[in-house]
């Protein structure tokens, strides 16, 4: 186990974590600000990936495809919020879970009717190779792009939430919604906007992961579970918590699948290590979540006092 391999695995974990952050950012705001459990958040990620694949196919440009998918999915999210989800805010969580679960099924089959079961989406040819970061460490160029875009968006989102008036309203809404209403903020419009931004971030994640993962119906459900884990670890409603939680989850997941296996092989007999390693790697993230909840039940960065 060389130091370079550890470094590469850390980069992999960071990259996976940043993509999880793009999903979790929208989810945590919707959950925190609107107190709404939106299971269909993963479906927006799927819609974004399909729109990107479709637009890249039409325009031939990866950048146009990603931007277009971001815009269209954001609009779609806003329409969805104002047309349907708004009426669910005052209902209890069970109704929200039921309605948004139905939405998953509807969107899955809707996408299938429009685009088919899957679409091809490849990385732009210019990014097909790998880049030498250090002697002996070549890293795929496309994954570096994901890292860069993820870091950039995280920074932009942080500035938006911490430094702008809109961000102040969002934070106010997350910590005390009723008080914010009383202060005369049009919280309905704010919610629609926040939901649109969350949907657009989902689309970026879907579009950027598209060349790495299968763009297929149902792709949102798998990743949604991890996004919820991130939200719970980071603290519901906290963007900073979502970022740190996502990077932690990404790194723990990746290192659990690589370094841990090597470590177990050092200390356990081979047949035990080969059985225990994969079993533990698949639950490492959840063990971490349980530990966080035991120590800090509100998550790492609680928003509500």
């Amino acid at each position: 186990m060389s130091g370079l391999l550890v470094l590469e695995q850390l980069l992999n974990g960071l990259q996976f974590g940043l993509m999880l952050f793009l999903l979790a950012a929208g989810l945590t705001l919707v959950f925190g600000v609107m107190d709404m459990i939106n299971l269909a958040h993963g479906s927006l990620y799927m819609v974004g990936a399909f729109l990107a694949a479709w637009l890249v196919g039409i325009t031939g440009s990866f950048v146009l495809g990603v931007l277009g998918a971001m815009l269209l999915t954001g609009l779609f999210g806003m329409v969805l919020e104002s047309g349907l989800l708004r009426s669910l805010y005052r209902r209890d969580h069970l109704s929200q879970v039921l309605a948004t679960y139905a939405l998953i099924l509807i969107l899955n089959d809707g996408v299938k009717m429009l685009f088919g079961n899957d679409l091809p989406l490849s990385a732009p040819a210019a990014l097909a190779g790998s880049v030498q970061l250090l002697p002996g460490l070549n890293y795929p160029a496309y994954r570096l792009l994901i890292l860069g875009v993820g870091l950039l968006l995280a920074l932009l989102l942080y500035l938006l939430v911490q430094k702008t008036r809109l961000g102040a309203l969002v934070r106010a809404g997350a910590s005390n919604r009723d008080m914010t209403l009383v202060m005369g903020v049009d919280i309905g419009r704010l919610f629609t906007l926040v939901f649109g931004i969350g949907a657009a971030l989902c689309a970026v994640a879907g579009a950027l992961l598209g060349p790495l993962l299968a763009v297929q119906v149902g792709m949102g459900e798998n990743i949604l579970i991890l996004a919820f884990v991130v939200v719970v670890i980071g603290g519901i409603g906290s963007i900073r918590g979502a970022l740190i939680g996502a990077v932690l989850v990404g790194c723990i997941d990746t290192l659990g699948r690589s370094l841990l296996q090597h470590a177990l092989r050092e200390v356990l007999p081979p047949q035990w290590a080969s059985a225990a390693g994969p079993a533990f790697a698949s639950i490492a993230v959840y063990v971490f979540m349980a530990a966080v909840l035991a120590l800090k039940p509100q998550g790492l960065f609680p928003v509500r006092a």
């Binding site: 060389s2 974990g13 790495l212 459900e221 699948r257 994969p278």
Partner: protein, 401 residues
């Protein structure tokens, strides 16, 4: 599980029997139609396979003028929604209420194993167009169960043999951490004579394989073999090619990870990949030529191997009904006709082993440009990699007759 045996024994014994006629088969009458219960996964993310099996099956019936074995065919198609309990209920309905003569259709082993007792306990034949687990090939073999597809680990055995013939001295194996994953890699290792430098059992449904790819790069194997069904395989192949591993390492795939349903979402990156299967779209036998032409005419897409299996399942039932002259009540005669398998399979030579699993050839295929235009398609090597291969479990099958 004893009832079918009893009826078979008695139907053989009717000529001699003087007593205990309560279960005796009445003098078989020719039926006026054939009823087939077709239960498969037709909705949701995993539906592409079931849809292809259904389309292949119904195409064969249609080309036969809506008949099977000369009798009007009624195919009752229903969707198991990828749920074992739903499949079980649909089997029960088809068998007890609709009184079908044959059941078929299920894609996934776990779903089929949940529903299968409904058919076997009620003396109804099950013709498997896909799932063929090792348990039913061996100790749980059953006179009413016929696999017209391929044993679950056959493709992996063929891939292991291919690695031998290519003189690939070291290989790295990847599969999900569950029973089928371990069984599949065991199939590969049964044939492979080189060195296994790494075995990586990943999470079921894993999305990102960056960590595993880094491990593979560090292990420097000559070849990589994966058993990652569905979306997992698509993810792995895309990332494997994206990471540039394809340049010095050969990626070997089981046929179902390199068929049209994977080629479409992965795209150009599939070109040049080797995989093993019992069927290939370029087979030149007349049955396959007809199937390829008619399927593309009817549905406007290239069939997958699943479609070929659905088509063959219908041809097998057709032959059995034809050769028993429609006397479907006579289960022993129907079984004999099924065992004889007198049909022209799209895969070429085909016969049943004593456990009613296939003995057939397996081929290496390579993904390349479609000579008829329009993207990528599989092309087979002329010589089979495994010839007249059965399975490793047949000796455990004590078939009750």
């Amino acid at each position: 599980m004893t009832q079918p045996t009893r009826i078979f024994k008695q139907s053989l014994a009717t000529a001699l029997a003087t007593s205990c006629l309560a279960f005796a088969v009445p003098l078989a009458q020719a039926a006026d139609k054939v009823k087939v219960g077709f239960v498969s996964t037709l909705s949701g993310p995993s539906s592409a396979l079931g849809v292809d099996i259904r389309d292949g099956f119904l195409l064969a019936v249609k080309l036969n003028g809506g008949k099977l074995g000369g009798l009007p065919a009624e195919v009752l198609v229903s969707d198991d929604q990828f749920k074992p309990d739903v499949a079980k209920q649909l089997f029960e309905k088809n068998i007890k209420r609709d009184k079908v003569d044959f059941m078929t259709g299920v894609v996934f082993s776990n779903i089929m194993l949940a529903a299968l007792p409904e058919a076997l306990d009620n003396n109804t034949f099950y013709i498997s167009p896909n799932a063929a687990p090792s348990s039913i090939a061996g100790k749980d073999c059953n006179p009413l169960f016929f696999a017209v597809s391929w044993p679950n680990d056959a493709y992996h055995e063929a891939a292991g043999q291919f690695a031998n013939t290519r003189d690939l001295k070291s290989v790295y194996l990847v599969a999900p951490n569950y029973q089928a994953g371990k069984d599949s890699l065991a199939g590969f290792k049964r044939m492979y004579k080189g060195q296994v430098v790494g075995e990586n059992y990943t999470k079921l449904g894993q999305l990102d394989y960056a960590a595993e790819l880094a491990e593979i790069r560090a292990a420097k194997p000559q070849a990589v073999y994966i058993f990652l069904p569905g979306g997992m395989g698509i993810n792995f192949i895309k990332q494997y090619v994206g990471a540039g591993l394809g340049k010095d390492t050969t990626l070997l795939l089981p046929g179902f990870s390199a068929d049209q349903d994977v080629i479409k979402p992965v795209g150009e990156a599939m070109a040049g990949l080797f995989n093993t299967a019992h069927w290939s779209p370029d087979f030149s036998n007349p049955a396959n030529q007809k199937f390829m032409a008619e399927f593309q005419k009817e549905y406007g897409r290239i069939p997958t191997l699943y479609a070929s299996q659905g088509y063959d399942a219908a041809l097998l039932i057709n032959a059995a009904v034809r050769d028993t002259k429609g006397k479907l009540e006579d289960r022993a005669a129907v079984r004999k006709a099924l065992q004889a398998a007198k049909f022209d399979s799209v895969r070429g030579p085909f016969k049943f082993n004593t456990n009613q699993y296939p003995i057939q050839n397996y081929y290496v295929r390579v993904v390349g440009n479609n000579p008829n235009g329009g993207g990528l398609i599989n092309k087979s090597f002329g010589e089979p990699i495994l010839r007249e291969r059965g399975d490793a479990y047949v000796q455990d099958c004590k078939m009750k007759n």
